[in-house]
Structures are given as C-alpha cells and as structure tokens.
C-alpha cells in the first residue's frame, strides 16, 4: 500500500496528505465516505425565509451550551438557606437554595450573569423563531405532502420549547415565576374530577411544597431536552429526505432543487449564520437586563408585583385567563365545575389541535395527493392565507391581553376598558382579519395577472396619431413572468354519487369546505391568453379578461 485513497474516490493519488490520511483512517472504520458522497454536495435553495428554522436550531445550541454552564452552579433544591451574599437588599433573607444559587451565579461568578442572560434571551429567541418559522411554513404551504408529518413534529417541538422555557424560568423560585406556578396550580385544580389530585401529586403535597423546583429541574435538563433532541433529529432527517421546498422561479420545477451545494457555500453561510445568531444574542445579553430575579425576591404566597406576566410565549394562555367573563361555573351535585378556568383551557386546546392537524385538514379538503415541492406565494392560496391571518389575530389578541394592565398604564386607559375591548376583538378581530386578508390576496392575484398579461406601467405617455393618449406598458421577460403565472390552480370539488348512488355526509362536508376554499379564485394566466395579449392587442385582451372573470375570479 503506497498511496492514500482520496475520500472523493476516483483516481488514486500518489502524494500522502494529512487530511487524506485522516479521512482514509476514518472511512476504513465507519464507511463515512458514503455519507459524504450523499450529503456533501446536496443542494439547498437560498431564500431568507428558509433560514428561520436555522435561527431556532442555533439558538437551541446556544441554550444547550450556556445551560450546561449553569448546571455546574445551580442547586435545584428548595431547602431553606439564609442569603449572605453581595446583594444588600436580600442580605439575611430566608430563601430556597435554588434562588440562593441563582443569585450566586449572577453576582459572584465572573460571567455568570452573562451566561444567565444569554441563556434566557436565547430561550425567548428560540420560541419566537420557531413561531416565525412555523408561520413561514404555513403561509407558503410547505406543510403539504410529503411534509405533513414534519409539520406535526415541528408543532411538537414548539410545545416542547414552550415547556422548556416555562420549567426553566420557574427554577430560580423567585416571586415572579412562583406566582406563575401558583396560577398553574389554580389551573390544574380547576380540572374536573382529577384536578385536585394532579395538583397534589405534581407539587408533592400542598402548594408550594418543597419538591416542585427539583422536579421541574429534572424535566428541564433531562426529560424535555432528550425528547426535544430526538424530535429535532427526526425533523432534520425528514428535511434531508424530503429535501427543502423552493419558491417558483425560472428553471425551478416540482422535480428539481435549485440552489447552492452544502460544501462549501451553504456550510459557510449556515456556519457563519450560527456565529451571527450567537453574537446577536450575546450582544443583547451584554447590554440589556433580562429576568432580574433579585428585584423580585424569593417566592412567598403573600407578596406580588404589579405587572406580573409570564414570558412572552406563555402570554397567550395568561391572556386567555384574563379575558374570561366573570361568574362562569356551576355545580354538578356537590361537585364544582369551574368554567372560568376550564373554558380557556378548552378553547386554547382546540386552537392548538387545529394548528397541529391543519395539513391533514387541508389535505382532506383538496384531496390533492400529489407531492408539492414548490412553495406557494401566500397570495396564491387566499383562503389558507386568510385562515392564517385569522389565527394569528386570535393569538395576538390573547397575547396582548396578557399585558392588559401595562397597556392601561401606558396609554392612560382603564383596565376594564382594555379588557372589554380585547374581549370583543377576540371574536371580531379574526373575522375581520379573514375577510380583509382574503380580499387583499385576491386583489394581489388580479394585479399579478394584469402585470403578466400587460406588463408594467412604464410611465411613458405616448400620444397616438388619432389623439389618444396611452401609457406604454413594458412587458416582463419570460423569466420575470414565470413567477406570476406558475401557481397551482384549484377548483371546488364536484359532488358525485359513489358506486351505490349515494353521497355520504363526509363527501358533502368535503364539497362544502372545498367550496369555501376555492370558490373565489383567480386562475393563472394560460399560454393562449398570453399570446392573445401579445399578439392581438386590445380587443383580445379585453375578451380574455372578461372570460377569466366569468370562469371564476372576480
């Protein structure tokens, strides 16, 4: 054996290099050359909105790194100690070891406060970027076959991220997060039949007990991260198997992926992006205070701070609790059925479930079994986009409700006025958002259609010999036009009796939904219409337009 075998295979190189030898050594033990061959030049489409998932992934890595540092110092015990550290306003105060160790990290360890702040800012960013990423997937229809499963896994990741955040910020056992736990306890107690017992078992006795911080710690650093990493792994593997979607463009089809290869461009950009995300988080942590637990002091069931809110991603739940009108609840025999807690739980649960199974709902409505690898422009799926806008509005109103008292003080309003307005907005807002968004999407589609057929207004006014003024339109190139004309077209499903001559309830329902989704639509420009627009001039264009209007759009 004289020469090293290059991992690229092919010709045997005579000269031994260090990298070549190392690669050879590994390959001879792991078959890694196969992996390198498969993945090394894999193509990834390059659009900014495709990077939001990466933001989530990188902030998660930052969380893992800083969190590991914190675990070397944090004590997840509720045993009572007397604080004797450097922060004067807490000196001599009894608190749990958990809070004591958090204060120790913040005030006595160089860089400890920085690590805590990076960890917390990264956690806020983690959930926010998952949310934004999820919205991007939704509005571009990237959850359609074959990615429905990945959407569901992503949804699980979202819930896990929120759970991680909640368990995490409850660890220091401070007044703010302790009151959050108190609210959770009240919520749990309100569950019919089993609530009292769940609360008792969860807290290891009566609230607050001495067990909860330790248990949350186990969840926070062991159980939840393990499940999260596993789900994340599946999520990424599915991404690699299905390959990434891409926006429509000249040369891009449903059967190819156009972009940059992993090595070297994508790796450089993605790797660089990791450092940038890390850097931005660190910048925030260097300059801005987050979660100053020393101001809140140790948890005690008696005091509370004005402006007690959970971290932003739990806001929608807290807001839901604030918006329930009072007096809801009744007795079933001797048993209390508390609706004022149960109702928001049910409403939020329903909302979350609809989000989780939406790809299957839409798949059922369209009955479309083809694979979709071209990302939709949101305007080309008006009903879906409008539903998304309604959902976002619903969530946003609940989120805003969580800060109702701060809205009141900052805008000089009364809390009663704010809450009542938000109650009304919770119902009206999504409806209005739906209607407005749908019409805006259809209008944008019409505009696209017009530009595709007639081109851009160039601003050049020309006077024709007959005295008529026209504005010269500049036609798009074929490449520019492709984006405007290449979207999927759908039509409401026609009800047809099955073999037995019957129309089932399911079919009827499906036809209704498909009608709702697709009745108002703009059809994409066809080749014939295009030629007519270019060739025959005005009259033909008008005929084409009116024909399209009759067919289905308006």
């Amino acid at each position: 054996m004289t020469a090293a075998e290059s991992p690229r295979g092919g010709a045997v190189v005579k000269r031994r290099t260090a990298t070549g030898s190392a690669a050879n050594w590994i390959d001879e033990r792991t078959s890694i050359s196969g992996l390198v061959k498969e993945l090394g030049r894999k193509i990834f489409p390059d659009h900014w909105s495709f990077m939001l998932g990466e933001v989530a992934l990188y902030s998660f890595i930052v969380i893992l790194l800083t969190g590991t540092f914190l675990t070397f110092f944090f004590q997840a015990s509720m045993a009572e100690v007397t604080y004797d550290g450097t922060y004067l306003p807490l000196k001599g105060i009894d608190m749990s070891a958990a809070m004591n160790s958090t204060l120790h990290i913040s005030f006595d360890i160089r860089g400890g406060l920085l690590m805590r702040q990076i960890h917390h800012w990264a956690a806020l960013l983690f959930v926010a970027s998952i949310g934004l990423h999820m919205l991007r997937i939704f509005f571009t229809g990237a959850f359609r076959k074959p990615r429905e499963l990945n959407w569901f896994i992503g949804f699980i990741l979202f819930v896990l991220a929120m759970a991680e955040g909640f368990t995490g910020y409850s660890l220091p056992d401070d007044l703010l997060s302790g009151n959050g736990l108190r609210i959770i306890d009240g919520l749990v107690k309100g569950i019919p039949v089993i609530g009292t017992w769940i609360s008792y078992l969860l807290f290891g006795g009566e609230f607050p007990g001495t067990a909860i911080v330790g248990r949350l710690y186990t969840l926070h650093i062991l159980l939840l991260p393990a499940i999260l990493v596993a789900a994340l792994g599946v999520h990424l593997v599915l991404l690699v198997i299905n390959k990434h979607t891409q926006f429509a463009g000249p040369g891009k089809t449903n059967d190819n992926v156009v972009g940059v290869p992993i090595m070297p461009v994508f790796a450089a950009k993605a790797g660089g992006f990791f450092f940038i995300v890390f850097g931005v988080i660190t910048l925030m942590a260097s300059l801005f205070t987050i979660n100053p637990i020393w101001l809140y002091g140790p948890y005690d069931p008696s005091p509370i701070s004005a402006g007690t809110q959970p971290d932003w991603y739990i806001g929608f739940a807290d807001g839901a609790l604030r918006l329930v009108p009072h007096g809801l609840g009744f007795l079933i025999g001797p048993f209390t059925f508390s609706l004022n807690v149960f109702l928001p739980v049910v409403v939020l649960g329903l909302f979350i479930v609809i989000v989780a199974i939406y790809p299957f709902i839409e798949g059922w409505v369209t009955g479309d079994k083809r694979e979709h690898h071209i990302a939709d422009r949101p305007r080309n799926a008006p009903t879906r986009t409008a539903i998304g806008a309604a959902g976002v509005t619903f969530y946003a109103v609940l989120w805003a409700a969580a800060s109702s008292d701060l809205i009141a003080t900052h805008f000089g309003l009364s809390i009663e006025g704010v809450i009542t307005s938000l109650q009304i907005l919770l119902i009206l807002g999504p409806i209005i958002a739906y209607l407005v968004t749908k019409r805006v999407c259809l209008a944008l589609q019409k505009k696209d259609r017009e530009i595709a057929l007639h081109g851009y207004e160039s601003g050049r006014i020309v006077r024709l010999p007959g005295g008529e003024y026209i504005e010269v339109h500049e036609q798009l190139s074929d490449y520019e036009r492709w984006r405007l004309v290449s979207f999927e077209d759908y039509k409401p499903v026609m009800l047809r009796p099955d073999a037995n001559g019957r129309i089932s309830v399911g079919q009827r329902a499906r036809a209704r939904f498909s009608n709702w989704f697709f009745e108002d639509r703009i059809q994409p420009v066809s080749q014939t219409e295009l030629e007519a627009a270019h060739g025959h001039g005005h009259a033909a264009i008008e005929a084409a337009d009116s024909h399209a209007a009759v067919e289905g759009g308006h």
Partner: protein, 266 residues
C-alpha cells in the same frame, strides 16, 4: 448710468450694525432682571414665626384651596375635609404638585408644584393647626441609612402589588394607577405612606413603624443609586418589555441579517 463714487451723506450719526442687536439684548436683560428682582421670593428668608406662617397659610388656602375644601376645611362636594389630615398630607400633595387639583380624571397626577417651599410650609402649618394629624417626618428616618433588606421585604409585601417590585408603577381599577417611585424624595415617600393619598391605603405608624418606613426608603434609595448589573433595564416592566424588545429588535435584526445573507452579491 454711472455709479456714485461717494456714499450719500448720513442723515443720522454713525451707528455700528451691531448696535441694534446690542440694544435689544440690553433691553431684554434689563426688563428680565427688573422682573426677577421684583418677583424673587425672599431667599434670604427670615425664619417666620408660627403665627406668621399660619396667617400666610390661611391666605394662601383661601385663595387656592377653599373652593373645593371649604373655608373651614370642612370639605365640599368637590373636595374632602382636611380636618386632621396633618401637615404631612399637605406637604405631600402640594409639594408634588398634585394639589391644587387640575382637570378631573380618574386621579390627580403629579405635576410641577405651584408653590414655593415657603408657601408650602405656610399651608401645612395652617392646615396642621386645625386638628392633630401626621406631622412632617423626622429627618432621622429620611437619611436612607436603615436596613435595605428589611425594607425590601416590607416593600414587597405592602407596596409592590401596586407600585411594582422595582417601583416602576402599576395599574389600579377604572383608569387609576400607582405611580413610579424612581427619584421621589424620601420625605414624600414617607408622607405618602403615612397619609394614604387618594386610593393608596393609610400606613399609620402601627402598621409600618417609622423605622420600617425608613427601611423602605433605604431600599428605594438603593434602587435609585444602583443601576441594574445586567445592563439597560428596559424600564423594569418585566417579561412584557423583554418579549417586545426581542421580537422587534432581536428577531428584527436577525431577519435583517438573513435578508443580507441570501441577497445576491452585486
């Protein structure tokens, strides 16, 4: 037409172009100075006797307060009785500008005080002379040398639910609010606690002893003098401001970076 080679003769004397400007400045300074001279209250104040203060106080009261509080402090439909409120209440309300009351709203808010220290002293001497009530706090409790830890604990139990743990203020019902406490003088903090202005409860000396009030003041002074070690504190409004900041600046910056990152190089 030939240009005149000599300037036309001056009708008036020589005058520098700056003369007008200088004249205006002198005139303004003169009038301003004379005005200030006439309206400056006596900084070299002679210590007025109690009866002098009461006298002056009653005049000020009649002119500024009696409309709502009644000529004998008995109260009217517009304002409560002031009998027994004590000098502390008057010093607080007038010293922070809350009184005389402005246009009606859910509550009277702090505004620039309308009276000088001397006038305020006269007012509270007058009101205090009607009936015994909380007096101006003794200086020993205002120095900020109490126990900050005890003060912080008392603050969290008695005050934080309205004013927020860091004194950032908070909402009350029907449009009222508890104001932020940053940079409020020790004296006013003490007086407010003792007299319970508007909807604030009364924390008499049996509820919070003077020493305990001194501890609370010490804690608040500590907050004023020690900015947050974590950096800029986003107004201490808690997770709401942190979340807003993250979405707008944090995520905003990062999305901006992604757009730059995927944009085609020129």
């Amino acid at each position: 037409m030939a240009k005149p080679t000599t300037r036309p003769a001056r009708k008036q004397g020589r005058r520098s172009p700056l003369a007008s400007a200088a004249l205006i400045v002198i005139g303004l300074m003169a009038t301003g100075g004379i005005y200030a001279l006439f309206t400056t209250s006596a900084t070299a104040s002679t210590t007025a006797s109690a009866s002098q203060l009461t006298n002056e106080g009653s005049k000020l009261f009649a002119a500024n307060c009696a409309t709502c509080h009644g000529m004998s402090l008995q109260g009217t439909k517009q304002g409560p009785s002031l009998i027994g409120v004590g000098a502390a209440a008057v010093d607080f309300q007038v010293g922070t500008g809350r009184m005389p009351a402005a246009a009606s709203g859910p509550q009277e808010e702090q505004k620039p005080p309308q009276f000088t220290q001397e006038q305020i002293k006269a007012l509270y001497t007058y009101v205090g002379s009607f009936a015994p009530g909380p007096a101006i706090p003794q200086k020993q409790y205002l120095g900020g040398n109490g126990n900050a830890a005890k003060g912080a604990e008392l603050f969290r139990i008695n005050c934080a639910m309205c004013h927020n743990v860091a004194g950032a203020g908070g909402a009350l019902t029907e449009g009222k609010f508890a104001p932020a406490l940053g940079d409020v003088s020790a004296k006013h903090i003490y007086e407010a606690a003792e007299t319970g202005p508007q909807n604030m409860p009364v924390f008499n000396d049996k509820n919070l002893t003077p020493a305990q009030k001194a501890d609370i003041i010490t804690y608040l002074k500590y907050l004023d003098n020690n900015p947050s070690p974590g950096g800029i504190d986003l107004a201490n409004l808690g997770p709401v401001s942190e979340g807003l900041f993250l979405w707008i600046f944090g995520l905003g910056t990062i999305v901006g970076v992604t757009i730059w990152l995927t944009a085609k190089a020129n």
